[in-house]
Symmetry: D2
Subunit: 308 residues, 4 copies
């Protein structure tokens, strides 16, 4: 078995290897120039801020299906401990154990490989248990601020939530642009809303997991044409799951992360943002979404904030 | 033994309990209004972004002295695993275990208590092993974007690094304002640079730990007068350590977190920012610094970004 | 609400506080004398060994119902890493994160408290986040070898598995003694088989969890009369669950751990032992079951071995 | 670079691949027959039990030098939590995160590989991040009870502790046998005492780590000739460290684990056992030392108990 010819043809069309040099570890994040950030800042009207992260909790969205991807286990290592003696100032401290891809997160580029390669043609075996990912780990993403654009596919289609078998197509994205009166451009971080998160917020993490609407294998070409910097959405699997093409698993991951070097975000809560954008009638904003710089990691939780 | 009268007198002068209502969990973050954010955005000139977080690594700044506050242990739970069968797309996944206060972080308000109380007069025993902090946990801080101001005390005094016994005073802060041509105002996030981080960056985490320059017990009144929203610096202990007053441990923590409800940040790497501010001759910028929303937690790692 | 009079009356009858001195931390483990161990050794006939622990795996018996009690998460931190250079000997290393009560385990005496007290009348608040249990932590149990006796209640009743609403009574225990031709005596470790483990081994951890057969609130008096050193069984909850008496939760835990100072074991796999004992027609053997000495812990995984 | 000819010659002489069949995962543990266990049991005289494990604590013997091998971090997830309502029985629960080789432990056979192979000639790449070790993981060791023999090399040489550059030779082992009036035979678990543990017990974990006395590269042939089942000692590195032969790192590990399939134990506290054996004038005893059955793991903490 191997990846089908169809996959390789799309891969050829969207491939960015070498585009920013043989040493590049950042991929499409290179598209976020200072000028793009200045324009992002210029979108701010009210100063209103909307958080897009789920709380980090042990009853988070992971159901146990993805091996090792555990919900955050938060523990107190000190509670009101008078470490310097009785009746002194007391301190409380905590630890956490969690899967880095368990909650609202960014996938780093080496999160997936195919045919033995990660982004920019590097060998996949540069990822080791000892050091994690040697190239393009999430720690390479030192900052992440740009213009955010919400493509509210669910609202554009007049539904609260897309059905579980809905593959979001380039046509859906274009229709959501038109609905929002916004045009995606180079360096943007695109947030695609399916409404699937409503299931998780209602407490049904099994239904949230799958079947899940998500990006079609045809969307990477659209993002490539627009030169977007990163894409995030409100599902567990990011792309439609089960997949559109039999036995072709995670093709969008492979195209985005390996071929394009495009950062992906999952489990983003876009519900409040959807309401705010609809109320204000504008779908572009300043978006801050820096990952935590875990050395060698192939992902990181993120607490994104949209500033309208 | 109990806290000295001097402490209680300052406490009375800076206390904010009830100022934003009996139910408030946010303290001085209430000072970051939409208008403050609009002004913060207006400081951006170049769009250049500077990250302020240390990488999250097992050889981080914790030396083992603070019990339970362990450096991040990053492990791979999958490496190029073809979870859907041979020659399919392969995935890599990671987990982490870490002290939430181990690296570049925010202290949440209940991180310290004194006299049995946390911020807003709530009982300290509302923090439990089962649920963590019931009030004012870091998850209450859903977003954090404001104007950042660098008070570069080291550079203003013409040194790379303040000596280990230097308590940063209100006079130091005022001199740094004048040096930077900036005036701290309501809702600002103030970054105080001592240069102590240079020791950690040079690999000497023991020397970095202590003796350490840091904030004097006199500074909370200055921050209170200016109504700042949050304060962070480039040391392990935040305040001068060992303390200025014998047997009065962590007084600045107690005044900021308990009395004022003012968020504190530690282990911020301000070196690149110091250089950039000096080169551009301006010390105010847009600062994004949202914590990860760990439910019940008394702190969180943060990946702050200054946008100049 | 408080514990019913019935509970307090039993408690009075089985209480061992002070029996081994005010400083005692071991409770009924004091009953395992050198002479008892010599007798335990004398039971060995064939030298055949039977393990009683479940494998430690992420798909273990915890279903998420007990907060924080997570199944073992095993990760590799090195895989065939040539740490001393190319073509040298390579090493693999692992870490684990787990709930100490998640798998086959011993409860330490302070695992439960009631009315503010733990075993030997000590205050329950001697357990802290900082140091764990100051008294009677599992690390106090430095070794654990004694005579084991299997009371195979299921087999004695002619069933594979007791029904979920079966409270194991003193009469059941006595009948199992008679069935096995064995008499429980001072210092024994008693293993009570319900057959409930067959559900877990068949992969149904929800059904395994509850409703579950288990010890009746009447059994602690029987164990007290016989002066047993410890009791373990093959269920998640140890005692019948839901409980026999409305709103009286975990009474057997409270009687054993707090009043008697009797160590309890849960999730022990007694299936192979049941078969072997039936085949050989003898139900006493040498049992080794030392916990791992986690300082301050209220429990520990254990890998018990019966030597027949 | 590759392993020297000298190593390969010894390897040929001690190799056990295929000895117990191509499918064998247990190596020399096959030598512990029921008859050996009956003889082990027959050594018991007094019933006195001596624990050989160090407490599991955050200030354990790991100093940070071995990447990822962290000392146990014990945290409480519940403290006296009345989970069923006020004034009910309250529970305390804990979790731990630790390196499986951090404390008193067994190395499983795949803990090291050389020339791409693990025990019994299997490929080293059968160890993965996803599943750990597929063959000979510590979970394959379902029980471990045998005769233990203390070879008290330090005491036999009349010193408290061997010097840091002392390689324990076959001659040392034979002298310790003679000193103890015992002869090592097939299926025994041999405990070799250097006295190095005294440094750790005195709180100096750096000195404990290295330079360290330990087994010479010549000892595997001696253990092979005697057909011992397992070997443990009281050092961090097991073998002399730095090594005897320049650039030949961990040769004893490679010979024992890969070639012979012989289980190794490290960081065993043999001090109390040394005293007891000297007092009683006998050096053989019943030893129980079952590892925790972590699925896929290359090691496990162990709480060994000697029964005299």
């Amino acid at each position: 078995m191997s990846l089908p010819a169809e996959f390789h043809e799309i891969a050829k069309r969207v491939n960015n290897w070498g585009r920013w040099g043989a040493d590049d570890e950042l991929g499409t994040l290179n598209l976020i120039t200072d000028a793009v950030v200045r324009e992002a800042v210029a979108t701010v009207r009210t100063g209103h801020r909307i958080p897009l992260a789920l709380p980090l909790r042990q009853d988070g969205v992971q159901s146990g299906l993805i091996p090792g991807r555990i919900n955050p286990l938060h523990t107190m290592v000190q509670i009101n401990q008078e470490i310097f003696g009785p009746a002194t100032v007391a301190t409380s401290d905590d630890t956490v154990t969690m899967g880095l891809q368990a909650a609202t997160h960014w996938d780093a580029l080496p999160h997936v490989s195919h045919s033995g390669k990660i982004y920019n043609g590097r060998p996949a075996d540069t990822i080791t248990a000892h050091a994690g990912a040697r190239f393009s780990s999430i720690a390479a993403v030192e900052h992440l601020v740009s213009r955010g654009v919400l493509l509210d596919v669910a609202r554009a289609r007049g539904v609260d939530r897309l059905p579980g078998d809905h593959a979001v197509t380039p046509e859906d994205l274009a229709a959501a642009e038109e609905f929002g009166g916004v045009r995606v451009r180079a360096g943007d971080i695109v947030l695609v809303r399916t409404g699937q998160m409503r299931l998780a917020l209602a407490g049904d993490r099994d239904a949230y997991g799958y079947p899940s609407p998500g990006l079609s294998v045809r969307t990477p070409e659209w993002f490539h044409a627009r030169d977007v910097a990163a894409v995030a959405n409100d599902t567990l699997t990011f792309e439609i799951f089960p997949p559109e093409i039999a036995d072709l698993w995670l093709p969008v991951h492979a195209l985005h992360l390996v071929e394009m070097g495009l950062l992906q975000g999952q489990n983003w809560n876009l519900e409040a943002l959807s309401t705010a954008c609809a109320e204000e009638g504008r779908y572009a904003f300043l978006l801050t979404a820096a990952p935590e710089p875990f050395a060698g990691a192939t992902g990181s939780p993120v607490a994104p904030v949209a500033v309208l």
